[in-house]
Symmetry: C2
Subunit: 548 residues, 2 copies
């Protein structure tokens, strides 16, 4: 049987675009004389459709698109993901379903059993879990069709669900597992997926066709990387990461390809994957919202340097404008380094000293501040003047402001709300400062794109004379380790001390993290590249007291 | 049996405070020779504890607090809500549980069966649903203990869950239903609760003791209003709204109290409830975060006037500072009206014209703006200068900025990000403009607190000459009706046209709402008073295309 894996980039709620893309793929599959084409989870609506799913009209549009697509399956069969109404009154109103389409109509429906409701996932918010199991019979083969999480309740000491749907399906002696996924990227996700797929083929002793979606939906970046794995756990086919691809294969051929044609063909280092993910994240945010041009404040520091580089990669150098916004506390090298970077990248910049506007505010405030000493109020004022100028360009010319806050800063609240925390999209908000350096070295791996001085100088906000980040924060290599254990690993204060960090430092860092929830609440959406990013995947109380 | 209903205000994660409060109530119950005291859902941790529940150490602290409390139940039995670890490996790691404590220890554990996962609720994110049922035997009575949602799957044509836990419990012939709740306020919630409680007592023919928590947790405001309802559906006891209360009653006495002592004793109009809810919401945001002082920009318009009044009620007139920030486009009456309001309320204000700072920015931008005409860039500049000045006061003196955006504005994106959208808490973000007027009339019901001119003048942002809201938006009485149907009722464009709204207007409004998701993403937390507020209860894609 000739099967096509359709790894495509969908746009949530854009039924015309998604349907058109699906039909075009079916036509290609037909031209290639494929028997079956497999799409990813909820491809018709786009994933995640979130609360659009609560609109009855949205579900009707899904059904209409499904009918339109079904009509095109006269010769090639297709499995597509689409929400459907629960025909039973009791329970949630919808199922998360896979439709087996053939001979121009819906032949069979498979509903998702395991509904991820953790981290960034909210599926039980919308869907009723499936409780019945039936393989799909097609051209003499028995297909065990599953949807994403359905294959994930395996190989864990502490399984998240009481049962595995494939334990039921295997009783019907399927020949192959087919999985429709919408599995977002993190730098550990590719390994985790392969491990889960291999655990399944090892347990059920049949091969698996795994089709993931690709493309970013604001915070979530889907990396594709669809695969075919044989019953020995070997990779038979590996699709690209971060790109659309249609791949055809004969289900009878199950030998692993040679090393360079399979798995490692598309592999790169973890930091290389993060690099590619961020570029796709920026690109899709702009393209799906219909924007073209980005602006950012270029400080001469490493964070904004990285964001500029990534934006140029994602949008083209002609579509990015940097504003250099020096204050009286900016060091000379900041401007020089920033200009050097713009020249290296061949992008536009404009220089606007903020001193006049800053002084204007100081004058206005002087009668009210009663001679109180310079403090965080004046520091933040400078950051906010920059925010106002950047947003004025945004409003006047239609640029979208890119935020340059990194995850270490976002964690401890080292940033000015409505100042350097402004922006439509936070490019580095899930990248710790130590990873920012790794990224810079990765970008410079062949030539010096980011000027070395930007990488080697000590980080500083430059909001008062001779300021260094290390004046108020622990060194980043220590800070990031604590943050990682607390945020990604959910280790509490006792566990952190047991890990060898000093108690006063742990208390100080955790107090900063918990005390910054109110700030993060108003931060821009963050491109998620780790298993635990700020945003939809981490839901904390602003007024919560624990560890605070 | 003498039962005490303990309707208390908890602080998420503040184990010392919550435990102390619970133990003090047990001691009072003991002094009053009560047999049993019933607390609300998850009272030990506070509700909602959100992702704190993912910290193993947090759960250990819950267990320690529970043990501490159990020791105090030597004479009076207590039912307290607390998360507990799932002893079975399969499934989620926690249960949402009620502990029956007596004779100094845990006698019985009841786990929650129905886990709300919709709107503001995320319970299946954390908890495994219960599947076993047993009544609590105590002093010859059989208590059917349930937790919040457990009683809600009733009386609906389209029930959310396949089964009702009380259908199981009733087989054990209980004498009384006890329900521990954490049911947040909305202006329809009290009626909805009474309806559900009455549907339960009608179906199971036994009375119900319903204990709700009180107090606000950032977005969610819990209104209390605990009740005892007899098997005829009559209210035997009704606790206060928006206040802590311990109430004792004899379970043998089941006759309804006279009208003035029961239900209507604490009832007020819908808008009166909203008024009280907002004051509690402001109060608890400040008290739980340890803040005292609020600041706001007072424009002379009705929204900021209302926020000032509510803040004064919540925090005291000495703790609120208003800044009057006129621009060249501000009308004379704006200042006069704002000052009159401050005088009526006896609160401080300072006047700071923004013209100098605005001009300073225009000068800075002039070489870059190339003579392009005045547009939204300059309008937003004024709003952002105000934001910078308010935040400078906040940083210098420790005021928390209150946001004054109303729900109509938040819906259609009529507001300046980092300008008038600044603030730690959005007081009116769930109150439509037409409800803002209702609130103003309610506040003025006995005397003119809000100057009549503020109420009667046409709404204007005053960011360009002679601007009126109605220049860019439909009249609020029409706009609010469309918004209500779209946001609260999830009616799509076809349904809205069928309701009688003109298609071009529907398209325009829906495009504004969907096109403002990116702005709302960065809005402050909003006090929720409706069944569908922006914030944690409404989760939309920024890049979603549907209806856009």
């Amino acid at each position: 049987m000739k099967i096509c894996l359709a790894q495509l980039n969908y746009h949530v709620g854009n039924f015309a675009a998604n349907t058109g893309k699906i039909i075009a793929a079916i036509q290609t599959a037909e031209a290639q004389q494929a028997d079956l084409i497999v799409f990813s989870e909820l491809c018709i609506s786009g994933y995640p459709s979130r609360d659009f799913l609560e609109f009855d009209d949205f579900i009707s549009q899904c059904a209409e698109a499904l009918n339109e697509i079904a009509k095109r399956t006269t010769k090639v069969a297709a499995i597509v993901g689409c929400p459907r109404r629960n025909p039973v009154k009791e329970g949630k109103d919808l199922f998360n379903s896979a439709f087996f389409l053939y001979e121009g109509k819906v032949k069979q429906i498979i509903d998702k059993t395991l509904l991820p409701t953790y981290d960034v996932f909210d599926e039980y918010r919308y869907f009723e879990p499936n409780k019945t199991f039936e393989v799909v019979l097609f051209k003499g083969k028995r297909l065990a069709v599953t949807i994403c999480e359905d294959i994930w309740n395996i190989g864990d000491e502490n399984p998240l669900y009481p049962a595995c749907p494939l334990d039921e399906l295997i009783k019907q002696s399927p020949d192959i597992i087919i999985n429709l996924s919408a599995s977002p990227f993190s730098y550990i996700q590719h390994e985790a997926r392969l491990k889960v797929i291999r655990a399944n083929v090892a347990r059920y002793k049949i091969p698996m066709v795994y089709v993931n979606q690709v493309g970013a939906q604001t915070e979530l970046i889907f990396d594709g990387g669809s695969v075919v794995v044989n019953e020995m756990g070997e990779i038979v086919e590996q699709l690209k990461f971060f790109e659309e691809e249609l791949l055809f294969f004969e289900s009878e051929v199950r030998s692993a390809k040679s090393e360079e044609n399979s798995n490692t063909r598309h592999r790169t280092s973890d930091i290389g994957l993060v690099h590619n993910a961020l570029i796709l994240g920026i690109h899709d945010y702009f393209s799906k919202l219909g924007f073209k041009k980005a602006i950012l404040g270029l400080s001469g520091g490493i964070d904004s340097a990285l964001v500029l580089y990534l934006a140029v990669e994602a949008l083209g150098k002609e579509n990015v404008l940097s504003l250099l916004l020096p204050s009286g506390y900016s060091s000379d090298h900041s401007l020089v380094d920033a200009i050097q970077l713009c020249e290296n990248l061949g992008t536009k910049y404009e220089t606007i000293p903020i001193e006049q506007n800053f002084q204007s505010f100081l004058e206005t405030l002087e009668p009210h501040f009663n001679g109180l000493p310079f403090n965080v109020a004046e520091e933040n004022l400078q950051a906010r003047v920059r925010g106002v100028l950047l947003m004025a360009f945004s409003n006047k010319f239609g640029y979208i402001l890119l935020n340059t806050t990194n995850k270490s800063e976002a964690s401890v609240g080292y940033g000015t709300l409505y100042g350097d925390m402004c922006g439509g999209l936070a490019v580095l908000g899930d990248v710790y400062k130590t990873q920012v350096y790794e990224l810079a070295h990765y970008i410079n791996r062949n030539e010096e794109i980011i000027p070395q001085n930007i990488i080697s100088k000590a980080p500083s906000a430059e909001l008062r004379p001779n300021q260094k980040d290390s004046d108020s924060l622990p060194e980043y290599d220590v800070l990031d380790k604590i943050l990682y254990q607390y945020i990604e690993k959910r280790q509490g204060p006792k566990e952190l001390v047991a890990l060898g960090f000093e108690k006063p430092l742990v208390d100080r860092v955790l107090k900063l993290v918990n005390g910054s929830e109110w700030k993060r609440f108003q931060a821009p959406p963050i491109l998620r590249v780790s298993p635990k990013a700020f945003g939809m995947g981490r839901r904390m109380n602003i007024e919560g007291k624990y560890l605070g």
